[in-house]
């Protein structure tokens, strides 16, 4: 069934969108990631204009994170104070990101920026994850995996403006979390992702937060930052397509339920290797697009966007 998307102004198959939403939903349920970093490139591949894909994906992430954060609130695994600091950084970052996005759009380089961001970040995260999970697998095979040592408390703890984060059991400066939030905000606006795949490792390894509050707190930040990004894109670019968002969402929620069941049955180390391989595959495809000579060297943009 073809459906005409009112804002994207393209006609696509509704089942294709539901299927894409479902597939990414399965993965996000299996691995516990948001899936924005997979969905946005997939939307490019099926011909949704990049600006619409990024803005709409932000809208979808708000919705798919909402039920997650509710569950974490019930379990009291959200550090509200830390979340607020991350959020303040995130909002500033998102505003900066949208300004950069719109400026590069006027130069015609926004596709390049988005693709480069994806290649760099997916490349780094994917390789780190791959190496670490391979190491974990090898250790698991040898038997008796030693628990990973806590990072040395270094420069993060030498900064001013210290604050006590009771839920996380931390007493650290507000600068590092605010900066982490800022980076994630910029990425959220430019790449149309929640940024969980960057924020979660940063919270664990950089800030030293306990793992059990990391996911809830990052979801809390993601919801508000992506909601803000959605509003910025909706009011400056008019690129949020609510029909597209709802279709992806319905598929995504169903997929996530299936994914959670599959994920619970597979060993964690193997899941991590799979996720790493997937991240690297998406990164590789995008990198090839930049490196290989495109079949069509020219591209069109309506309007006098000089």
């Amino acid at each position: 069934m073809q459906i005409y998307l009112p804002i994207a102004e393209v006609s696509v198959n509704a089942f294709l969108l539901l299927g894409l939403g479902g597939m990414v939903g399965v993965l996000s349920g299996m691995f516990g990631v948001g899936g924005g970093f997979l969905m946005t490139p997939l939307l490019f591949f099926i011909g949704i204009p990049p600006a619409v894909a990024v803005a709409t994906e932000a809208n979808q992430i708000v919705a798919s994170s909402f039920s997650g954060v509710l569950a974490h609130f019930r379990r009291k695994t959200v550090d509200l104070r830390m979340g607020t600091v991350l959020l303040i950084g995130g909002l500033i970052g998102a505003a900066l990101g949208v300004v950069v996005f719109n400026y590069l759009k006027s130069l015609g380089q926004v596709d390049l920026l988005v693709t480069l961001c994806y290649v760099v970040f997916l490349g780094i995260i994917g390789s780190l994850m791959f190496i670490e999970s391979l190491r974990a697998l090898r250790k698991a095979k040898k038997g008796g995996a030693a628990p990973a040592k806590r990072r040395q408390r270094g420069w993060v703890h030498a900064m001013p403006f210290k604050m006590r984060f009771r839920t996380s059991g931390l007493y650290i400066s507000v600068i590092p979390p605010a900066l982490v939030g800022l980076c994630v905000g910029v990425l959220s606006a430019i790449m149309g992702v929640g940024g969980g795949f960057i924020m979660v490792p940063a919270m664990i390894y950089l800030l030293g937060m306990p793992t059990k509050v990391v996911v809830g707190t990052s979801l809390f930040q993601i919801i508000f930052v992506t909601a803000f990004t959605t509003m910025l894109h909706a009011t400056t670019n008019y690129t949020v397509d609510v029909v597209l968002a709802v279709l992806l969402l319905v598929g995504g929620v169903i997929g996530a339920q299936i994914g959670t069941v599959i994920g619970a049955r597979m060993p964690a180390e193997q899941l991590r290797v799979l996720l790493a391989a997937l991240v690297l595959a998406v990164c590789g495809k995008l990198a090839l697009d930049l490196l290989l000579e495109p079949a069509e060297l020219y591209s069109l943009v309506s309007g006098g966007g000089h």
Binding site: A63, L300, G303
Partner: protein, 255 residues
């Protein structure tokens, strides 16, 4: 009184006599409604050639039908290899290019319409695109205009289909033009030309209105006119859809 009436009639008839053959047109639809399930449309264009005199001898009458979407400026960018990756470098602004352009003819285009007439009426695809201001500083500005045609032809937005207008007895003609699903809104102009020996002997122009309707219309208008409310609405709809679906699943599993 009667005399002045006859004089008026004669005056009225004069232009008609100048163009001996005129188009009487019918369209299967004079508006296209883009609904949520819109997946393209086929417009049937048919008509007759009205004449007061017998069919003139000489080359037979030929018919050219064109439909053009609203014209707007288009920025064309070219990629070049920089530091090993392909990036957009040069760009050219094509002043006006129709968002959609289809031509159907009753014979080979170059044979039934002379180049001077094409220049005058801007019928062929190359002529329908205007790039007078194509900047001089870019090498091969023509390549950019060609790229517009090539890309839009690949997207089925531009097409020229020769020998697809059927002409019966030099009087009746009909053709159909496919409009793809990815249409933009606006007034589409349909033009019909009658030619003999490459010269245009009569032309007729009418408007086909392409509009989003229903939900599509409401959402589109709202996103432009009240972007803040549209953004908030998108968030609320998305959150309630996501939350509703996951709650429904949880209840199902608990049962």
């Amino acid at each position: 009184m009667l005399r002045s009436f006859i004089a008026a009639m004669c005056l009225f008839c004069l232009p008609a006599a100048a163009a001996e053959e005129q188009v009487v047109l019918g369209l299967s639809q004079d508006r296209v409604a883009i609904t949520a399930t819109f997946d393209g449309s086929e417009i049937l264009i048919f008509g007759a050639i009205k004449r007061e005199t017998p069919i003139p001898s000489g080359p037979p009458v030929e018919v050219i039908v064109s439909i053009a979407g609203p014209s707007e400026p288009v920025t064309v960018r070219r990629k070049e290899r920089k530091l090993g990756i392909w990036v957009n470098t040069d760009s050219v602004l094509v002043d006006l290019a129709p968002s959609f352009y289809a031509v159907a003819t009753s014979g080979p285009f170059r044979e039934i319409l002379s180049d001077t007439e094409d220049l005058r009426y801007r019928v062929s695809i190359e002529r329908a695109i205007r790039s007078v201001g194509a900047s001089m500083h870019v090498r091969g500005a023509q390549d950019f205009a060609d790229a517009v045609i090539r890309i839009r032809e690949a997207e089925h937005l531009y097409s020229i289909r020769e020998n697809t207008v059927a002409v019966d007895e030099q009087t009746l003609f009909r053709t159909s033009i496919d409009m793809p699903a990815d249409l933009t809104e606006g007034e589409y102009s349909a033009r019909i030309f009658l030619t003999r020996g490459g010269e245009v002997i009569s032309s007729y122009e009418t408007i086909i209105d392409v509009r989003k309707v229903g939900l599509e219309r409401i959402l589109f208008n709202m996103s432009r006119q009240q972007p803040v409310w549209y953004g908030l609405m998108s968030l609320v709809i998305a959150i309630s859809a996501g939350w509703g679906a996951s709650t429904a699943f949880r209840l199902l599993r608990e049962k």
